[in-house]
């Protein structure tokens, strides 16, 4: 029984880290630019698609992952140029951005559909399996965990130790104040958005071997990511990560004792409960 628990813990963690990366992209854009990117799911999908395409060209998965981040950045750049930056200065711009990012997401999705079709595809990822004390984990899931931790650590370092990171936090806390000290607010915002897109692309690339690629992938994960972002405390990166891991592990654990529909309903009910008990989100717990 403990083996099964440990196994589920690992499975839950691997999925939880995937959620974390996707939620992190959303929360970054919210934290710095105060916008909600309704098209973020499509960036994740493009990351997954990149790995598929790279596989078809014969590139090894490990090479395709950074490529997916690059594609995420490119997609993010298009999003920013057409659907975000031009609206930021407008009085109701941040509301309008809900609509423009949604529309951009649809356009990306439709473009992918018309070029590559709606068919799903397999992503092989890393092969093999690691056995540890009677518990097995596929290399891919292990890689998801390791790569996510590495990415999160890198982001943390970036936010704390680099000039760009501190500037990003400054813009998040006060746009006018940031301008007063000479921070190029617009450029910091754009770079933060691109960073969010890169993280989203990475999330897609890491999850694709587990979930299989499909053009609908983005929409499937986005709802959960939204809930995680809010539960974690809007704009709080630490809260989002903790919350994502929690959701992943709880889902996996509940799955052991409940059937899937019921388990999902339980997870959502738990979320409502958290809203009731900790209205400020989990952010306070993990500053």
């Amino acid at each position: 029984m403990t083996d099964a628990l440990l196994q589920q813990l690992l499975n839950g963690l691997s999925i939880g880290f995937g959620y974390a990366l996707i939620a992190l992209g959303l929360t970054l854009a919210f934290g710095v630019l105060h916008i909600i990117n309704f098209g973020h799911g499509e960036v994740v999908m493009l990351g997954a698609l990149t790995v598929v395409m790279a596989g078809k060209l014969g590139l090894p998965y490990i090479v395709a992952v950074p490529l997916a981040m690059l594609v995420g950045v490119l997609a993010g750049w298009v999003f920013d140029a057409l659907a975000v930056s031009p609206l930021l200065g407008r009085p109701e711009g941040r509301t309008d951005i809900l609509l423009t990012t949604f529309a951009m997401g649809v356009l990306f999705n439709q473009a992918v559909l018309s070029v590559w079709g709606p068919a799903p595809a397999r992503v092989d990822g890393l092969q093999g399996r690691l056995e540890l004390a009677g518990v097995g984990l596929s290399s891919q899931r292990f890689f998801v965990i390791a790569a996510s931790i590495a990415a999160l650590a890198a982001l943390d370092l970036l936010a704390r130790r680099t000039r760009f990171g501190v500037e990003m936090r400054a813009v998040a806390q006060g746009e006018h104040a940031a301008r007063v000290v000479g921070i190029a607010v617009k450029s910091v915002g754009t770079r933060a958005f691109l960073l969010a897109a890169a993280v989203g692309g990475l999330g897609g690339a890491l999850l694709a071997p587990i979930t299989s690629y499909s053009p609908m992938l983005g929409q499937a994960v986005l709802i959960k990511a939204f809930v995680i972002v809010v539960l974690g405390g809007l704009g709080s990166a630490g809260g989002a990560v903790v919350c994502a891991l929690g959701v992943g592990v709880i889902e996996a654990m509940l799955g052991l004792v409940l059937e899937e529909g019921l388990a999902a309903a339980c997870v959502y009910s738990l979320m409502l409960l958290v809203l009731l008990l900790r209205p400020q989100g989990l952010a306070g717990a993990v500053r």
Binding site: V106, V230, L275, L276
Partner: protein
């Protein structure tokens, strides 16, 4: 009332003629769908546009209404038209529940609460197969609308009339609601929630009401959808309908009611119009949305309202159907009470172990003006927040107007007559000065929801009285000439004065002012001092926090000094400013001499 009936009449005639003119079953179908989505998006705009709460899961209400009525018809054998009015109920109940859970929180939690509820409902519908037929879909046979064959209408024409009539009714009632005290409450909550609470608005309850209204309407839209779709499936509760709700509001323009109606209708009409594009129709629609929002800020109607011609017409219309504004009613003197009006007993407040206020006791007699001073961070604002119900006390008692108010919510404290102003300017920055004052007059006359819905003559008379009182308060601080300006565009000092006027409009017996003179130059501050002494003459009791000692000392009766959360002095201005610890902690030496000169 006349205008309301006239608008309803015109709307019903329009609905009937639309139903009579269209004969193609396809066009009837599209028109009915457009009307249903218009109602749904209108419902979303109640929370989104008026309360400022985005909902990611309004389809929860839509689907719940559809399934409730659908199950009554398909499983319990009700007639569709008999069950239809019940479509309002489930949304109302769910709205109250979601509202109660999330109303105290910021809008983001509301968005997620609706999203999560929608997901749970999907799981419920999918798994409760006996009742809902699960993903296969619940077939619901809707009979033709009663009496529709008498006018020679086909079932589809009768249905279109019913939906269009419902849209007209919803629009007229929501418009009346928006222009009433209730609608103004929502505006205040959206733009300045703390201010709303300080003016006696029960923000939590008002939010719940808003969400319940929106939920009821959305769920009714769901019930209205049944004859159009024949089959209810879990996709009704899905993200695509929720997205239609938000995006329709944005497309139309969330500042208005016409905008969301238009936006909703377009979400039915444009995709149909693009059918010829085959599998590119969705992409074409998205592209149109993107271009429209990029080119027309504020949505279709929001943009149109900024066109000079339209703006001129809109400006001619008076707010709230009130006609011309009434003449200001001078602020009446109130009967003077005797004895102690405010009694603070050993009040303490801690934040995470930090003692912001420690066992402070003092009392204020009726008709007294007390100055509250002390260094920055001494706990003055914390104390004021406790006195006005914005912060609970950690220990101690506060009695005001003969009642124990410690632990009561701020809006109740305000209703008892203890009203505060804010250190930072707090006003509805996007509204005109007049609108701000109308909001502030909340406590002058009770809100009357049913009267407001049909605009009875009695309600209109009360509205005029209310406005006259509000304008009188504005006159008191000398801002009457600024009536039509946007509050946020006033200079800082005038914003603070407007804050004082708004607090006055809430009819306080005890007025708590937090740094009213900050940002005023000496001339402006002197003028404020005259206004405040005038208030005492009209029977008001004041507690004033300010650093402008020259001004403060010119009109206060007594001064209470806080330092590190502890009261270190309490007495007449001349005595207090001479006390060494006050000089040390607060005044600095040279300053003290000058103040004394002024105070003497």
């Amino acid at each position: 009332m006349k205008a309301t009936l006239r608008d309803l009449g015109i709307g019903l005639v329009l609905a009937a003629s639309l139903a009579s003119v269209l004969t193609s079953s396809y066009l009837l179908d599209v028109a009915a769908y457009a009307a249903v989505l218009a109602i749904f998006v209108l419902a979303v705009s109640v929370t989104f546009g008026q309360l400022g709460y985005v909902s990611f899961g309004h389809a929860a209400f839509l689907g719940l209404g559809a399934y409730t009525v659908g199950i009554l018809v398909a499983q319990a054998g009700w007639s569709y038209w008999a069950a239809l009015p019940l479509g309002l109920l489930p949304g109302l109940v769910l709205g109250v529940l979601i509202g109660a859970v999330s109303a105290r929180l910021s809008g983001a939690y509301f968005a997620i609460a609706t999203l999560v509820v929608a997901e749970i409902l999907v799981l419920l519908v999918v798994n409760w197969v006996d009742l809902t037929r699960g993903p296969m879909g619940l077939m619901v046979a809707a009979s033709p609308m009663p009496l529709s064959d008498l006018v020679g209408w086909s079932p589809q024409q009768g249905y279109l009339f019913a939906v269009a009539a419902a849209l007209v009714l919803a629009f007229v009632l929501l418009r009346n609601l928006r222009d009433s005290a209730t609608g103004r409450e929502w505006t205040a909550i959206r733009e300045a929630p703390a201010l709303a609470e300080s003016l006696g608005i029960a923000t939590a309850r008002s939010r719940v009401l808003n969400i319940a209204v929106s939920g009821a309407l959305a769920s009714f839209a769901g019930a209205l959808l049944i004859p159009k779709v024949f089959v209810l499936s879990p996709s009704l509760l899905g993200v695509s309908h929720s997205a239609t709700g938000i995006l329709g509001v944005i497309l139309g323009g969330k500042a208005t009611l016409v905008g969301p109606m238009l936006g909703g209708a377009l979400f039915a009409i444009i995709p149909e119009g693009l059918r010829f594009m085959g599998d590119l129709n969705f992409a074409a629609f998205a592209l149109m949305l993107l271009v429209v929002v990029r080119v027309l800020p504020g949505g279709l109607v929001g943009w149109a309202a900024t066109r000079p011609a339209v703006a001129r017409r809109l400006a001619r219309r008076s707010p709230g159907g009130m006609g011309a504004l009434p003449a200001p009613a001078p602020l009446a003197a109130r009967a003077r009470r005797d004895g102690t009006l405010l009694e603070v007993g050993a009040v303490s407040r801690q934040f995470k172990g930090l003692k912001a206020v420690q066992e402070v006791s003092f009392s204020v007699r009726a008709g007294e003006i007390v100055g509250l001073i002390g260094p920055n961070g001494a706990g003055k604002t914390t104390l004021l927040s406790m006195l006005s119900g914005f912060l609970p006390v950690s220990a101690g008692t506060i009695r005001a107007v003969g009642q124990d108010i410690a632990g009561r919510p701020a809006h109740e404290v305000a209703r008892l007559g203890v009203v505060r102003s804010f250190q930072q300017t707090a006003l509805c920055a996007g509204q005109t000065v007049a609108a701000n004052m109308a909001i502030a007059s909340r406590l002058h006359r009770p809100a009357d929801l049913s009267g407001a819905l049909v605009r009875t003559p009695a309600w209109q008379a009360r509205e005029r009285e209310r406005m006259a009182h509000a304008l009188g308060c504005l006159d008191e601080v000398g801002l009457l000439p600024r009536l039509d300006e946007t509050a946020g565009s006033l200079p800082y000092g005038e914003q603070k004065l407007l804050g004082v006027a708004m607090a006055l409009a809430a009819q306080p017996e005890v007025l708590l002012l937090d740094e009213p003179a900050a940002g005023l130059n000496p001339v402006e501050a002197a003028r404020l001092a005259r206004v405040l002494s005038g208030l005492r003459d009209k029977g008001m009791t004041l507690v004033v926090v300010d650093h402008n000692l020259k001004m403060l000392m010119s009109f206060v009766d007594r001064v209470v000094v806080l330092h590190h959360g502890v009261k270190i002095a309490d007495g007449a201005p001349q005595e207090v400013t001479r006390m060494p610890e006050v000089v040390e902690a607060y005044l600095g030496r040279a300053q003290a001499e000058r103040i004394e000169a002024v105070a003497a």
